[in-house]
Symmetry: C2
Subunit: 374 residues, 2 copies
């Protein structure tokens, strides 16, 4: 992982290259059979497509097969899944999934305009609805349907920011409490600054190889025990129930079945808290809370590293930051930290099974992975 | 395949949907396990990312796993390859590769600016070099090194335009001869209008399933006997030899080995003639002509459907058209026509083995497929 920040002095290839080379070094390898680059906005914001070939050349692997994978903010998780299938197919013996996004220093377009391309262009964005506004409509409806007050969402921000204090790669190192949440500036009612994740520049990478090719090097062996992806409508108004992430439910159910586990077995859950309402909806769709009861888990203190369902243990999207196409790979790297027992400061005691869920659009593309150690 | 044209009355989802549903109908199927959408410019030109989920919902397959694959103008071929690996991995029993591009009716950006994102943004595009200008520099150097005159390239356009007359999906139905080539308006010297492929709106789709799942329905069974991808530098000036497509050589060599064939066994070669110089370079890198001798094949009449190395048999990029992210899938569909014996008007007699080569950037990402019938 690279630190998530405003890297005005680095181009997108440099950021991606840092993460890719760090992952290869961690695995003590020089090369790889294929590169899968998760990225959403390089064409719009950096005027650069063909990122796969660009990165292969930049890291000294000219000639190596490479491709870019896009699924809006779910691009990183989708890249991990493509790399996994490539290795599982036998076509490749090793595949590197690299998530990268460079969102500052972007002359040609605005980040807000770019993010709106994750929504339905003809039926949502064309009306002028920004991505945060769409999520605000969902949160407003949630408060109305289930009777929560806005302040009940404070624990999501407090947990994420507290955990990020211990993560050197996090975008924000700024402890917040319930009072700060109450006073935070409104972005799109009822979403305030402490409900919304910050964008940023960053990259993360993870190397995928067959299980029997993992060298015994004294560290726990991490396996991908479950991997699944599902979709939903892009436009929220097309859904039968705008308060239910059916693609989260579907992909989690498949991943649970593959791994032979259920929600109660998950020691750490790195979810997609782009907005705090999304954290609540993910907890519900994946079976950690009853419908409409996501905030209850948070209010009961169950989402912190010592709780029953630790989430955002390294800061989550909220405080680690959300370089959109990279986020899904950060989640996997953070699970690896937890399963290796190296999540300094926020280590979940005895973590053996972790789940990551990456979301593209307001629930339109969802990729769920379950990792096991040992 | 959809006809390639200026579809002012259709959005990108409608165009992609037509091709996807046509492919499913051709295979007599209602659904599929996964969608792989090859596309380059939807974010820039259509303000729409997350195309995978968008298409899944639009064609009535809400929930189905879907993702977008990008490798500049090689996106279509790359999508086919991802679909192939997904099925080979055992994760999916069926995968639909859909290539789509909508290049007219694009308010936010120019097509020329979009296409430039296939080049190196920091070192090529930043200097104001357009994509056609880059190819013009390569062609100029080629003429200088090997002593050809510009008019020696006329047969590439004549063959492509002649073949497209018989293809109902082609962008251009306009027979041209050597005199028309000589008189064609210059775009970027020495590339004239008849060296350059037209952009357009279009989509094509191909369904991939395990060999033993193909129903015996009286039609020849088409198998993918070879599939490989390789990369090169994005920036042409970074290459040791700007007149050699090393990624074409590398990917073709791998595909030949997998299929157990060589250039002499290929009955049809759908190559990436975005510019006529690229047709010559592909013929050389893939072993159909000696270095610097690509135009010789064309001048000797060997590239027409009755020749030794039939290329662009349905019009190629030059006359069938080049909706960039869709092109690689059109090539596969055209090979299927040839191998089924349904390439009316330009059928290659007894075609049994076909090769398609799709290029992203000026040779930066190259995907090569070999198909066999029977």
């Amino acid at each position: 992982m690279t630190p998530i920040s405003e890297h005005w002095d680095k181009s997108i290839r440099e950021i991606a290259g840092e993460a890719a080379l760090a992952a290869l070094a961690d695995a003590n390898r020089q090369g790889v059979d294929g590169l899968f680059v998760g990225n959403m906005l390089s064409g719009t914001l950096n005027r650069q497509e063909n990122l796969g070939a660009l990165l292969a050349d930049w890291i000294g692997l000219r000639g190596t097969e490479a491709v870019k994978i896009e699924a809006a903010c779910g691009s990183g998780g989708a890249a991990v899944r493509q790399a996994l299938m490539a290795v599982a197919s036998g076509v490749m013996d090793s595949a590197l999934a690299v998530g990268v996004e460079k969102m500052t220093d972007t002359v040609p377009a605005t980040t807000t305009g770019g993010l709106a391309t994750a929504a339905d262009s003809d039926w949502e964005a064309a009306q002028g609805v920004s991505f945060v506004a769409l999520n605000a409509l969902v949160m407003q409806r949630y408060l109305h349907e289930y009777g929560w007050t806005k302040d009940d969402f404070a624990p999501f921000a407090v947990n994420a920011h507290g955990n990020a204090m211990h993560n050197p790669y996090a975008r924000l190192h700024e402890k917040v409490d319930a009072r700060a949440y109450k006073k935070a500036r409104m972005v799109a009612e009822p979403i305030n600054l402490l409900d919304a994740s910050p964008t940023g520049d960053g990259a993360a990478a993870v190397l995928i190889v067959p299980v029997d090719a993992v060298a015994s090097n004294g560290r726990p062996r991490i396996t991908i025990a479950g991997s699944a992806s599902a979709t939903d409508t892009l436009a929220i108004h097309d859904r039968r129930d705008p308060l239910w992430l059916s693609a989260a439910e579907l992909s989690a159910r498949k991943a649970y079945a593959q791994a032979g586990v259920g929600p109660a077995d998950i020691d750490v859950f790195e979810l997609h808290d782009a907005f705090s309402i999304m954290a609540a909806l993910s907890l519900e769709a994946c079976g950690f809370a009853e419908r409409g009861q996501g905030p209850r888990l948070a209010l009961d203190g169950e989402i912190v590293p010592t709780g029953r369902v630790p989430i955002a243990t390294r800061g989550g999207l909220k405080a680690r930051g959300h370089p959109v196409g990279a986020t899904g790979v950060y989640q996997i790297c953070e699970l690896v930290e937890q399963l290796r027992g190296t999540a300094t400061g926020t280590q979940v005691d005895g973590a053996r099974i972790g789940m990551a869920q990456n979301i593209g659009g307001s629930g339109a593309t969802i990729v769920t992975h379950i990792l096991k150690s040992g």
